[in-house]
């Protein structure tokens, strides 16, 4: 059982950076191949420079604009699918997912779920409640847990409604306020049943495979958990324990392995964390929603980095401003435009296998994308163990 060791963490990182400076930068995708089950048994040794801001996707009140995007999913077609929060807005009515090209912020297609099979006559508004988190499998099927209707909705990336599954209830395996979800290495689904204070494991067709969790503030307990991620190295389950202001790592049968972060508003501290993700190096990203930022921790639970948002106005936004001359004038009068870069109440963070970090900047109606800058070290490049003061993963 470990907590956070904050003190020496960055010192170690910095030392490594200095030592390996000449090697910088190295293409990340070549560094570590995406793991697939069975899981590897060890994390790579890394040095990190950090993350570089890449692009902000989407523009408020524009075509392909999102309204309060809550999550993103990676389509097998190379497109990003952004979960759109508001179903009732005039020009976004019914749009649940927006297809986005990450490279150029291009928008192609809006996924508008129609009547589900077996429910003729129902419109998307009637059978969909609150969709929030989403994933996409390798077949191009989007899944999203409907927190209000206690179902898991399935929809193809071309907008074809495939139906939904799930039974509401407070027994293990039943859906109760399902929200956070992620794909396991075999593409089975882990879903957080927030109102049951549980994390449950299902096949994509909805067969219950297991799970764990009970309400409480104790070490092994959960209190309205929100996001979930599966460690790509060893398959452990990382949960954003929302109301306990912590992230917790469990074995797949529910044994607490690690507590990450601590409650608060300071460095490396969490306040009402929402989404959580883990990359192929074992780095954990937490949407620290209550603090309007994203934090990253290494696999040992040491705080590494804080993302507060770097979005600058993009082409779409610039066009928007230029057609509104009063806005141009107002912007000219502002001494410091930094405020518009910042994250506001981010709900989700996801990583792709190219080391990109996608933050659903929910309160600012955009997605901010960062690229990881790092290098995996060979055994002979690694510092002697005496320098390592990280708490050991039990």
């Amino acid at each position: 059982m470990t907590g956070v060791a904050d003190r020496p963490a960055r010192k170690v990182e910095r030392m490594r950076t200095t030592k390996a400076k000449a090697l910088w930068p190295a293409p990340l995708s070549a560094a570590i191949p995406a793991p697939r089950a069975p899981y590897q048994d060890r994390y790579p040794t890394l040095f990190r420079r950090g993350h570089q801001f890449e692009i902000a996707l989407g523009q408020r009140l524009a075509l392909g604009g999102f309204k309060g995007p809550t999550d993103v999913a990676f389509g097998p077609d190379g497109w990003l699918y952004v979960m759109n929060r508001y179903p009732n807005d005039g020009h976004l009515a019914g749009v649940r997912w927006v297809q986005v090209n990450v490279k150029d912020d291009g928008f192609e297609f809006e996924v508008v779920p129609k009547d589900p099979p077996g429910k003729p006559g129902a419109t998307g508004h009637e059978w969909l409640g609150s969709l929030q988190m989403t994933v996409c499998d390798s077949q191009g099927v989007l899944y999203s847990a409907d927190e209000h209707r206690h179902t898991v909705v399935r929809c193809s990336i071309r907008g074809e409604t495939l139906g939904y599954w799930g039974h509401p209830g407070d027994k293990p395996g039943q859906l109760n306020g399902p929200t956070g979800m992620c794909l396991d290495a075999d593409e089975s689904l882990w879903i957080v049943n927030t109102l049951n204070h549980r994390v449950d494991h299902y096949t994509r067709e909805g067969e219950w495979l297991g799970g764990f969790g009970q309400q409480g503030t104790g070490p092994g307990e959960l209190n309205f958990p929100w996001g979930v991620a599966i460690d790509p190295i060893n398959g452990t389950v990382v949960v954003a324990d929302w109301r306990n202001d912590l992230v917790k790592r469990f074995s797949r049968d529910g044994k607490l392995l690690q507590v990450i972060g601590r409650p608060g508003h300071g460095e490396g501290e969490l306040h009402r964390p929402a989404g959580v993700a883990e990359d192929n190096h074992g780095d954990i990203y937490v949407a620290d929603r209550g603090n309007n930022r994203v934090l990253s921790f290494n696999y040992r639970g040491m705080f590494i980095e804080s993302f507060i948002g770097d979005a600058v106005i993009n082409d779409r936004g610039m066009q928007k401003v230029l057609t509104n001359l009063d806005m141009v004038r107002m912007r000219d009068n502002i001494e410091n435009l930094d405020r518009e870069k910042r994250l506001k109440a981010p709900v989700s963070v996801r990583v792709d296998n190219k080391g990109r970090v996608y933050i659903a900047d929910t309160g600012r109606y955009r997605v901010q994308v960062y690229r990881k800058m790092c290098k995996a070290l060979r055994p002979d490049e690694v510092d002697p163990p005496t320098l390592h003061v990280d708490p050991v993963l039990t």
């Binding site: 408020r60 209000h148 306020g177 610039m318 928007k320 107002m330 955009r366």
Partner: protein, 466 residues
Amino acid sequence: MTAPIRERRARRAAADDVALIGHLMRRAAFGARAEHLEQLARKSYGAVVDDLVNPERFPPLEEDLLERFHSDQSDDESTGWTATRWSFQMINSPRPLEFKMALFWHGLFATAVSKVTNNPMMRNQYQMLRENGLSDFRTILQRLARDPAMLYWLDQQQNHAAAVNENWGRELLELFSMGRGNYTEDDVKAAARAFTGWTLDQTFPRYPSGYYDVRFVYRPEDHDETPKTFLGRTGNFNGDDIIDIILEQPATAHYLALHLYKFFVSDEPNRDEVEALAQTLTESRFDIRVTLKAMFLSEYFRQARFKRVRSPAEHVIATVRIAGRYTNAWEHGIDGLEDAIGRMGQQLLNPPTVEGWHPGREWIDSAYLIERVNFAADMLGDPSAPGVVAISRRIAGGRSGIEALALVDAVLYEMGALMLSPAAKQAIIENLELVGEVACNPPEVFANTVARVCRTISTAREFQLE
């Protein structure tokens, strides 16, 4: 005295206590069912008043869960969401008077999002009213004069030393503190000049990234530094001096007392009672908490039952509280409440003008009355509503049946010691065909009957009053 008589008298006295506390809870809070009132009645009336006016004794409502389970709506940019939060607080807060006072001040200092547009500003104003609502009038006016939403609403950013805009200066005197007839046009001009330089920092444009907070700033270079004569006093006054002078005027205590009286006591003010209240305000240096406490403890307040038409917000929230709905943060549909309140003519955070809503009988117009009646009937006619279930359980108690009139009386009592004319009771009994003794079993059937009685009571004209 025989034992049964003593017992009956004790019961009647207990019922009187509950009725009085029911009255207090409707006015100083948002109503409560008898179940809750009986618990409160274990304390003295004075102790209950004391708790209400000292909300700090109770923990604040945890609201994070509301936001968590309405993440599809919770958005700072949405006025509907701010109003929904307010609804949730009015229903559930252990410190109800804070939210009641926010409603009072919002009505008095009516500011509307229709012009302000920027909802974070509206939310901050609401927050300010709620945090300071029980302090003193000086503090409140000082905060108000620095509130960005209010300043923008009344064009204060256009009030310059070189070009005076009187809007804020005028409304401060006319609507927020003294009332017409107690100052001259010259006083308005002097007040406006004293507030020159009280403005907003540059508004952050909403394109492309949405709304940002706006802050109050004082720009001394834009302040009129020449002497002003205001209400007979001359000096190089600044805004806070104006507020201080306003608070010295007898008209101010009277104006505020009248508004407090109409909000808490009766639609038809009694001169002497308002005067007494004004006296309390003056003596307490406009301490709102002290004044409210004195008012709640007064004889006239205790007697003033069902003397007010309740506002749409009070009507909706009181009805929801009887029905026991939306007590947990994940019950869906709470966002419909602010909408319902709006359809009854009181769109929260968006009053029609700076004069605010016209309370009292103007709340009752045929379109609004239909909304009021239908809302309450739907809410209370639902036999599965937790409050209705609780009412029917308590009435059934251990008994097998209850006589029709006693049933109607019992439901009225359970709904918070409400009153209804004998004729209305008779109308309910006859139209619901409650004949003789109504069986309390099976419970589901009895709950249905109780729901029908609740529903019919909620359509009565007395239910529009509190």
